[in-house]
């Protein structure tokens, strides 16, 4: 538990002022899950923020050790960041495949890229929609979810589930793409840019929204790197670092796409608007990746490299991928003779990104805290695992 100090301050005369402790409790409409924020406020200005975590702790890492094989851990991994489950599965499966030294067929890699990028779009849509909702704009939320439905429909015809997929398996995929996937994908690629433009017109460039988010929660680049932030938090501060370009995994090195970076267009570099805008631009880039991947998709068998029993040799591996929220890493220790992992540690991006919250919200008002928290884009399932 973090400790806090109540500061007393005396101004001219005999007036003594105190800071007040306000609790933004676990149940709250704007905290994106069960997060308790203890605010130490001086009037309206925030002096300190102490996040209290653990309300959604489900002992994922302990569960992973008790499973009978590596395959059974995948539904648990899904449920960490339940908003962007494909990314979680991908990171875990790539870690295990690296440990076992499995080479997956090209078709599997392309399909994984398509799924991961679709999931990135879906996750950013949710982030943008709920961010508008926190600030009082009710309509973009529903428009974002309308678009997200189309993506979830595509996932449902492929693997049968809309939110927690169990689709990316060690060595391949659970199902190949169905026959109507191509048509749905093409329709989506055609209609999504228009919908994104509408959401931009309504929310991104709205002067009131810009006033609420520009110059708020400024995260300097060196602070971001020191705290270990990743994903749009880091890129919003101007640091051009994306694991898909810097440490390419799967077939990302075959695609042409840009890494959007915050440039302080509406305020300072690294403010909330920059982080939000990085997410909007990332969706456009993901569209490009999906188009290229779909064109280059080779034929093949998605079940070819799936091992009968996943029994990795003794060793340890740390593999990191670019999740929509940042860098998701899995550290897996295998003891060679058992078919279940010895230790699985998940480095969740939201957990690390949340640690920077006290730093960037000092000196702003309580009403700004909601904007700052929304721009960090946390999912409590990931923070608490």
């Amino acid at each position: 538990m973090a400790t806090f100090e109540i500061t007393t301050r005396s101004i001219k005369g005999d007036l003594k002022t105190d800071t007040m402790i306000l609790n933004m409790g676990p149940q709250h409409p704007s905290t994106h899950g069960v997060l308790r924020l203890e605010l130490v406020v001086d009037g309206e200005i925030i002096v300190d923020v102490i996040p209290h975590l653990g309300y959604l702790h489900r002992c994922f890492e302990k569960h992973a050790e008790q499973m009978t094989n590596y395959q059974q851990v995948i539904p648990y991994v899904d449920r960490m960041d339940y908003v962007a489950a494909m990314g979680n599965e991908l990171a875990y499966v790539l870690a295990v495949e690296k440990l076992m030294g499995i080479e997956v067929p090209e078709r599997v890699q392309y399909i994984r890229v398509i799924m991961a990028e679709l999931q990135r779009i879906a996750s950013h849509l949710l982030a943008i929609g709920t961010y508008g909702l926190d600030l009082g704009a009710f309509t973009p939320f529903l428009w974002c979810f309308r678009e997200r439905e189309k993506i979830l429909d595509m996932f449902e015809i492929t693997c049968g589930a809309r939110l927690l997929y169990n689709y990316i398996w060690i060595g391949g995929l659970s199902h190949d793409l169905p026959s109507d996937f191509g048509k749905k994908l093409k329709d989506f690629l055609k209609t999504f840019p228009k919908a994104l433009k509408e959401i931009n017109d309504l929310l991104t460039y709205n002067k009131i929204f810009i006033d609420r988010t520009a110059n708020i929660g400024v995260l300097p680049a060196d602070v971001a790197i020191n705290y270990g932030c990743s994903g749009p938090m880091l890129r919003g501060s101007g640091v051009k670092f994306d694991l898909r370009k810097n440490e390419p995994y799967l077939v990302y090195d075959r695609f042409e796409f840009d890494i959007p970076v915050g440039e302080g267009k509406m305020g300072t570099v690294g403010d909330c608007w920059d982080r939000y805008y990085v997410r909007v631009r990332e969706m456009e880039e993901s569209l490009k990746i999906i188009e290229q991947a779909w064109e280059q998709l080779p034929a093949g068998d998605v079940h070819a490299a799936i091992p009968k029993k996943a029994r990795p040799p003794q060793g340890e591996v740390y593999f990191r991928t670019e999740n929509p929220r940042g860098e998701l890493g899995f550290y897996i220790i295998s003891d060679g003779h058992s078919s279940s992992p010895f230790r699985v540690k998940a480095r969740a991006p939201s957990f690390v990104n949340l640690s920077v919250l006290p730093e960037i919200s000092k000196g702003y008002m309580i009403a700004d805290l909601v904007a700052i928290l929304g721009s960090v884009d946390i999912v409590l399932g990931e923070v608490d695992r």
Partner: protein
């Protein structure tokens, strides 16, 4: 000064753009459907409630081992040699009585991991998603055809049979020895 007026104009302009957009959306057809009067047809791979075709189950317990949340409980009893359980629809010969096949659907995480290892494809996920119950215990689905008493009976029969077999095996070498050496049954030939 110029900033000041520019801010006002930008604010008014973006508000007007937003208003035009929302006004346009007033006339767009709604994308929602009137559930429960209208229900969407789920795709064929949809993973919802589990179903077990118990006639096809050979009692291999692969699904029980594959489940990550241990929601399937299976108990089997070996069939006696004179009992013929028949053949599953996929051609596998059944050798075990499945006396208990319980799925606690409230624990199930709908991952589908139990479906893939089944050799006869008797367990699969249907598209039923409206199965809420008033009583928590009604969510434990019993797929086996055996009542608990019948299961007990079957188990006793098998135990009895095994006991008889053991007795027969114990008697057999003695008989053999007697046949070989009628004078001294204890002496082995």
């Amino acid at each position: 000064m110029k900033e000041y007026f520019k801010n006002i104009f930008v604010a008014l302009w973006t508000i007007l753009v937003g208003l035009r957009l929302t006004f346009k959306h007033l006339f767009v057809r709604a994308v929602t459907i009137q559930y429960p009067d209208v229900k969407l047809k789920l795709p064929e791979r949809a993973r919802n409630r589990l179903y077990v075709n118990i006639d096809d189950c050979i009692g291999c317990k692969q699904c029980e081992m594959a489940c990550p949340v241990d929601c399937i409980t299976i108990e089997t009893v070996k069939a006696l040699p004179n009992e013929d359980l028949g053949v599953t629809s996929t051609g596998n010969k059944k050798r075990l009585w499945v006396t208990k096949f319980d799925i606690d659907i409230s624990k199930c995480c709908y991952c589908g991991l139990c479906v893939y290892p089944c050799p006869t494809e008797c367990i699969y996920m249907t598209d039923v998603y409206e199965f809420s119950e008033y009583n928590r215990h009604s969510l434990i689905y019993h797929f086996s055809n055996f009542t608990p008493e019948e299961a007990e009976l079957k188990k006793k029969q098998v135990e009895q049979f095994e006991l008889e077999q053991k007795m027969k095996k114990a008697v057999k070498p003695v008989e053999q020895a007697v046949a070989n050496n009628p004078a001294n049954p204890e002496e082995k030939s």
